[in-house]
Subunit: 135 residues, 2 copies
DNA sequence: CTCGGTGCAAAGGGTTTGCATACAT
DNA sequence: ATGTATGCAAACCCTTTGCACCGAG
């Protein structure tokens, strides 16, 4: 499920720029399309396919994180690779990172059922600080 | 976010069978395709589009639940409408329901950041009881 | 009789893939 | 030189939609 073989992987301008775009995205959690738009400013001839391929590689190499469990089922990327939870504002769509701290709620129940839990994905929904102030 | 107007909704054989199929699915958490296959046994001429439309309606009417937070981004349906968490076995793919009990882990952090949390989705991943026994 | 639901088929969008070429090693 | 990564475009998958007909109320 992680990188298996370092293999003969080349360092291309495309890969570097895709990584840079995600790293520079802060808390935006960009979609592939958005990363594409950003990288395109420096490399106008890059293709969406290449962006997807590099994004995939960076994720499986553990260099960036992926967010694949949002309610709208969009696929987003995260400069922070280690697993952590997220808060999604239903008003503005902003996605905030949450510290990975506490263990997930259903853990005890799952283990009581005999399952071994190795990871989890948690998304909180609500109205963010900014939107609440605005209302 | 829920049903807004009862309106003039008709009870068709298709709707009833789609509901029945989900209700009979136990803990399978079927995809639309699977519901389609099942309903087709009784109504060979039903179309996938109709299944999707009825599934949508049943969800927004709160008669069944939807699971849109899986890592593989598949969309699944659940006879249990009230929100609850899930455990996914990475070995066999089985999805188990977890009691809705405890509040989610990052709650305190999110509220500390000034966000108002109204709901959440939690999916635990690991190896289920059965697969562990098998190994 | 009405108009909401259905079947069919085509459209959509987001992501992946095949292929010839370009380029990192 | 060697073979990986790229660009392009077509293919894919899953879900949604448009439209004419059907049938529940």
């Amino acid at each position: 499920m992680a990188a298996e073989r370092a293999e003969a992987r080349r360092t291309t301008r495309q890969l570097a720029l895709v990584l840079a775009a995600v790293q520079a995205s802060g808390t935006e959690h960009p979609t592939a399309e958005r990363v594409f738009a950003r990288v395109r400013r420096d490399l106008p001839r890059i293709s969406l396919g290449t962006v997807y391929r590099n994004l995939q590689r960076l994720v499986s190499d553990g260099r960036i994180g992926a967010l694949a469990h949002l309610r709208d089922r969009s696929l987003r990327y995260d400069p922070t690779a280690p697993a952590h939870d997220h808060f999604v504002c239903e008003a503005c769509g902003h996605i905030d990172d949450l510290p990975a701290g506490t263990p997930p709620g259903g853990l005890a129940a799952a283990e009581h059922a005999g399952h071994a839990v190795t990871s989890h994905a948690l998304v909180l929904y609500g109205c963010c600080r900014t939107c609440r102030a605005r209302a």
